[in-house]
Structures are given as structure tokens and as C-alpha cells.
Subunit: 354 residues, 2 copies
């Protein structure tokens, strides 16, 4: 991509391009995930935990259960569970932890605490034989290959999809109603493949942002797009160190809108099915006030900086796909700024101490 | 304050200085709040909703119930309830809405939807006779006087305290265990009064930030301090338009730590009781990597930019008090930047359209 500029290719972009293959592997593991879900007895409380990108992955993955609303489901950073919620965990609890390396100190500690309290524990990782697999009642090892960059990209998407599938299965069992999410999930890998064709367009957008000295981003999303907005903000922040944040889409009107007029760009993921029409007015309102907007949407088009996706991107789970253009944006923006996205400052592959 | 510089005093700082009186009024209304809580039958799900600062207030206020973990309690932006969670609301639900004006479009609409589904609704406001009082089953009108600034300050603190009291009462009833939170809450107004004595020190800190051209802030908090970090970030953003965000304290290690080295300041609220000792190392780690830190804590001291509070500030509810120094910081920083904090750009007193 952009070969004429002789951009060195880092691991990060190769990992991103590997996403469809990783998602194929996730969909292939559906039977295994179903078995793990079936092995779990009925629970009154379900906690999903992780750190950093893994926390945002479970925030997305817990969506089908959160929305179901008939069971107590929470997504929390692992540290928050350790510090504040361990008294709420008991033998009536299912705790689902995600750690790419299988070695993240806080997640391991939280899972150990929860097991000690009689909770049933499930651990998602991509590292077979890592510590998490020895700690939990049921490990789920996703066979998506190595992720060479310190930055999580394809693994984020794989954990998001796999935990969402897990939640959908549990949600089906709890409500007794067939969830459409499982079928939606199966369509995700091929849609991810098509999305990669936008790489050049997104690289051009990154170039435009750099030429306009944009160094501040607010990522917005509603419902299942909200964790994606948080993860998009994290991706840009940890690769380029510029100011980013993620917010609920319509919360932007309640205070943060004061920032329109500053040099900043809004990145909006808008995949809302039947409610989208309603939201169109709000997104147009932000544009009307002069906001610079990069929009990723299956239904709204604001012109040049919109990634307008075809109708097959409809459905709640499809919101996950908007992380791919955000990751590509983060990559080209960081490289254009002269950062090495594979070696982010102050960070390591996983945090070993808690 | 700082009279030698002839700073014009805006409504915002007068509202902040009125906080202890507002909190006195909240504590005096404890009997009324208890009656409303007692009138509510037993519920399986409790939703807390609001927009902007009112959303962060209910995120704090729902803490005693969230932590209790034996009932399904969620805090959500009103818009998210309308768009995604209305199917989860039924006659088994209690919905608590907060709106300063009693007229916020999204909150009114969400409450109407919930009533239509048979939920029991409670509405907190400071405007007697406003629309919300006619919509809900039980209105709670806090008699804290007018708030003249568009920016919410004393009303945020009053809503946070009153909804936390409401949650504590419900939590007591659900668990059958005496909660210490109610007694803690009663101590809040006089502690708020003492905190105002730090105004000069905080004004001096704001001056230092301005002289060092700091235009980026990350607010960090854990547990009950997390919503306070979000609200602190919002206060600075909506008065000065600079880049701010709020994050869970230890999530900073999982990605955002890459930003240490940029020109930015961390504002940390750390009121953690017995767990604080443990966190001390992490806060010191951020400082050791060169982060500029403004710390508000009852137990950790990092030197000049620490607001070290005496031991009577221990206890989870006391975390709420850290919003007062953050509001004062936002005020002096905005005024020092030449902004009018009473007339934030693009914002109005409440949003009338959804």
C-alpha cells in the first residue's frame, strides 16, 4: 500500500490484514465455544474482565447479555474487580477473563480470587499452555496465530467476536429465544475481508489529518459501537501519543460539543439498524456546527470522509467491523508521524506485576 | 480569591462555593428520599439514567447497588436506554432519572418509555414543578437553590450524594445488611466546607498549568472515584475546550501510559480505604516515568501538587468530594485562558430536542 512513498511495513499492519483469517478461525471454533457455554451451570451473575484492549473486547462481547437484561452481566477492568467487586463474586457467578498472552497479572489475579470464591471461570487467550489455561475451569484457546506487534489488533477483533458468540449462546439459553447474533457473527469474516479493500482510502485520510495538523480525536459510538469507539481511541493514543477519547455518541451533545471549533476530528461509528435514521440528524448537526468528521456507517453519508458500507453491514454485531478502519487509520497516522507502532513508548507485551 | 489579579468572579465559582449549603439540603432531605425508596416495591432491575454531568452523577450514585451485586443495577446515558435497552425494561424495573432542569429531552423521553412498559419511575431534579415531576411516579426535588452557570457544579455533587443515599437505602433493604454509606454521607457537607479552604492552592496550581502551556489532561479514578474522574474531565473540557479524558486508574498502564512524555497532566483521585496502600506503588510508578500529576488523596503524598486530605476523608463516599478541587481547577484554568465558564460554546442550559 502506498508503495510509491516507500512506507516500511510494520507488524501492526500485517496483523490487521490477518484479521479475516483470525476471524475465520474464531467462527470455526463455534462448536468448542458452545460446549464451554453448555458446560457452565446456570448463573445469577456473569462478570467479563480484561485489561486495556481486552477490557474493551469483553465490553463488546458482553453486549448480547447486557442487552438481554435478564441476568446480571458486567464488563469490568480486571483491576476494578480485584479492588472493588470481589465481595460480589460467589458460587453463583461465572467469570470470563480475556488475556492475549495468558499472562496478564491483573487478569490472572482476578480469576484466582474468583475461583477461590467458588465462581466458575472461563479464560480466553491465543497462547495455548499459558498460565491462564491452568488457572480457569475452562480455557478457550483461539488458534489465530501469533500477533507480532505489541499493539492488539487482530486479537482484539477475535476476542470481541468470540466472547460475543459466547454471550449470545448464554443469552439464548437464558431467554429461551433464538438470537440472530450467532448468524450475524458467521458473516463477519468475509465482511472483514471486504473492508480491507478500503486501506488506500483510509491511508489517504490519515495523510489529510497529518497535513492539517490534527492531533486530537474524539471517537463516538452508541450501543455495540461504544466499546469500538473506546478501542479506536486507545489505538490512536498508544501508537501516536496524541489526545484521544471515546464517548457515547449522543453524550457528545451534553458538554463535549463545546470543543467544536478546536482543531480536532470526530471519528464516528454508526451501525444502528432501524434506529440509524433517527441518529442521522444528530450526526448532521455536529457536521453543521463545523466538526471535522470521519464517519464509518452502513447508512449515513457525509461525503468524502465517510466510509459508507453496503447494506450487508447491517446488524448489531457488524459494529465490531468498524474497528478495522480505525486500526488502519491509527497505523498510517502513527507511521506518518514517524512513530514506530510496533514499539509503543512505555508499553510491554503484557503487564507482569500487580 | 486572587484579588490582586482582579479576576472577575463568574457564577461558576459562586455555585461551587455554594456546594456545602446544597449538600446540607440533601442530607436534610434524607427522610424524604427514604420514603421514596420505601414506596418502591421490590425490583429485579434498577436503571439509573441521565445526560452529561447527570449521567456521571448517577454513575456515582448507583455505586452502592452496583457493588452490592445482588440486584441488576445499571447506570446509562438516557439516550442509550432509549436506543438499546428499552426492551429490557418491564414491570420488574425501577428507573431513576436525573435532570437538573427537569426538562432534558432524552431523560424525559426515556422515563416516558419506561413508564409505558410498566416500570416504576423516580425523577431527581432541582426544579419543582418542572416536566419531570409530572412524568414520574415519584419526584424528588432537591431544594439547593438556583444554579446560575450553564455548567453543572453544586448540582452535580448534590445529585451524586442524593442518588448514592437512595441506592444505599435500597441496598440495605435488598441485602438486609446495615450500610455504612448513609453515615458517611452525613459527614459529607462539613468536609465539603473544609475543602473550599484549598481554593487558593488550587488557583495557584491552575496558574502553574497555564504557565507551562499544559492543554491536555487525563483524569484517573478507581471504583467510586471513576465517575468523578469522568466528571472532572468533562468540567475542564466544557469550560476550556482542551483535550481531556477520564479513565479507570489502573487501565492507564494498559496503553495510555504511552502518552507519558507528551505535554500533559494526570489528575488522580485516590480515596481507596484499605486498598490505597497497594495503589501507592502504581501512582509512584507514573510519577517515576515523568508524568506531571495532580493528586487528590487521603493517603498518598507526591509533594507540591498533591491535595493531601486528613484521615476523616476516608470511606468510599468521600471520593465524591474530589470533584470540588477538580471544579475549582477547571474554573481557574478556564478563566486564566480567557474563557467565560458561564457561557460555554455551543452549549445551552439543557437539550430540548431528541
Amino acid at each position: 500500500m502506498l508503495p510509491e512513498e516507500n512506507v516500511r511495513e510494520y507488524y501492526m499492519i500485517r496483523d490487521i490484514r490477518d484479521t479475516p483469517k483470525a476471524l475465520d478461525a474464531v467462527v470455526k471454533s463455534l462448536d468448542g465455544i458452545s460446549e464451554v457455554a453448555a458446560s457452565a451451570r446456570k448463573f445469577r451473575k456473569i462478570f467479563f474482565i480484561g485489561c486495556g484492549s481486552s477490557y474493551y473486547a469483553v465490553l463488546f462481547g458482553s453486549w448480547p447479555l447486557m442487552k438481554n437484561g435478564s441476568v446480571l452481566a458486567f464488563a469490568l477492568p480486571s483491576s476494578e474487580l480485584i479492588l472493588h467487586f470481589s465481595d460480589a463474586v460467589n458460587s453463583d457467578s461465572l467469570v470470563v477473563g480475556v488475556s492475549r498472552s495468558g499472562r496478564t497479572a491483573e487478569t490472572l489475579k482476578a480469576l484466582e480470587i474468583c475461583r477461590g470464591k467458588g465462581a466458575y471461570t472461563v479464560g480466553f487467550t491465543i497462547e495455548g499452555g499459558s498460565e491462564i489455561t491452568g488457572i480457569v475451569d475452562e480455557p478457550v484457546v483461539l488458534d489465530i496465530g501469533e500477533e507480532k506487534s505489541i499493539i492488539m489488533t487482530k486479537s482484539f477483533t477475535a476476542f470481541s467476536l468470540s466472547t460475543a458468540m459466547f454471550s449470545s449462546i448464554l443469552s439464548e439459553r437464558i431467554s429461551g429465544e433464538k438470537q440472530t447474533l450467532i448468524d450475524e457473527c458467521k458473516a463477519i469474516p468475509s465482511l472483514a475481508r471486504s473492508l480491507l479493500s478500503y486501506e488506500d482510502k483510509i491511508a489517504a485520510t490519515s495523510k489529510r489529518l497529518l497535513s492539517e495538523n490534527i492531533e486530537r480525536f474524539i471517537f463516538l459510538g452508541s450501543g455495540p459501537s461504544y466499546p469500538i469507539a473506546l478501542e479506536g481511541a486507545l489505538k490512536v493514543k498508544e501508537t501516536s501519543y496524541v489526545a484521544t477519547e471515546g464517548l457515547h455518541l449522543l453524550e457528545f451533545r451534553h458538554g463535549p460539543m463545546a470543543t467544536i471549533g478546536e482543531r480536532l476530528t470526530l471519528v464516528i461509528s454508526c451501525f444502528l439498524g432501524e434506529n440509524t435514521v433517527h441518529l442521522k440528524n444528530f450526526v448532521s448537526e455536529f457536521a453543521g456546527k463545523g466538526a471535522d468528521i470521519i464517519l464509518i456507517s452502513n447508512s449515513i453519508d457525509l461525503g468524502e470522509s465517510t466510509l459508507k458500507l453496503p447494506p450487508e453491514y447491517s446488524g448489531e454485531c457488524k459494529a465490531l467491523l468498524s474497528i478495522i478502519p480505525m486500526q488502519i487509520l491509527a497505523y498510517y497516522y502513527a507511521v506518518g508521524k514517524g512513530r514506530d507502532p510496533d514499539k509503543p513508548r512505555n508499553l510491554s507485551r503484557y503487564i507482569q506485576r500487580f
